[in-house]
């Protein structure tokens, strides 16, 4: 079966690459684009470690064949900081101790960025729900939730 040429805009930069059409987008991001910040966890779409933003939508990149990403805009963890300045979510993770081993952290941060983009002042329940697709085996989650609340300016919405 032949390889195919796809064009993707990765962290704001257009790139054309030649890939196997069924290659997992996760592998293309890591091995063809060299963006190893995106991690493989379960490889089955359960843990969220491989999360990226695909046309703005939080997506498990292990479940996307490369061909289906053709023409899309991809944001990986490498595209979250701007001009050497960490994003507010990243700053908050550092300050709150939201990362331990670090494998889940890129996916957690992308999930948090996606959540706060859609809802700048989430309730605690919203935060838990927003990060429900991302598993962490180290932190017990509380410091991660604190970090997201901090990134929201400490202003979480009402409700539970």
């Amino acid at each position: 079966m032949p390889k195919v040429s796809i064009t993707v805009t990765v962290n704001g930069q257009s790139q054309t690459i030649t890939v196997w059409p069924m290659a997992r987008l996760l592998d293309v991001v890591r091995e063809d684009l060299g963006l190893t910040g995106t991690k493989e966890g379960c490889g089955e779409g359960e843990c969220g470690a491989c999360s990226i933003l695909l046309d703005g939508q939080l997506t498990n990149s292990c479940l996307v064949p490369a061909l289906q990403a053709n023409g899309s805009h991809i944001t990986t963890i490498e595209g979250i900081a701007r001009g050497g300045e960490l994003d507010a979510v990243q700053e908050a993770f550092v300050e709150c101790g939201g990362a331990q081993c670090g494998i889940c952290t890129p996916g957690m941060i992308l999930a948090a960025v996606s959540l706060l983009r859609d809802d700048p002042h989430p309730s605690e329940a919203d935060i838990r729900n927003g990060l429900a697709g991302n598993l962490c085996r180290c932190t017990g989650y509380l410091r991660i939730f604190e970090a997201v609340a901090k990134a929201a300016g400490g202003q979480t919405g009402g409700g539970t």
Binding site: M1, P2, W20, P21, M22, A23, R24, D27, G43, E44, G45, N60, C62, L63, V64, P65, L67, Q68, N70, G71
Partner: protein
């Protein structure tokens, strides 16, 4: 990843007509492939029957395509 990735073909037809034409010309060879969240898990585990797939996601005719595919399956008694 246990699958032999080069052994799989995924093709993205430009139109619904092209997809249907390809399926008709090689009956049983091409199978529709939508979001793939289940198929990619099987693929990663090396348990996706090696086949040729037609991607139906990016051209916004997925729902039309699958109505057709469902009718085809019903005709075959699946």
């Amino acid at each position: 990843m246990r699958a032999f990735v080069p052994g799989y073909e995924l093709y993205s037809p430009k139109t619904l007509a092209e997809a249907l034409e390809r399926m008709a010309a090689q009956a049983g060879v091409w199978r529709p492939f939508a979001g793939g969240t289940d198929l990619m898990v099987l693929f990663g585990a090396g348990k996706l029957d090696c086949c040729r797939f037609l991607s139906t996601v990016v051209h916004k005719f997925t729902h039309v395509f699958f109505r057709y595919a469902a009718a085809e399956s019903a005709d075959r008694g699946e």
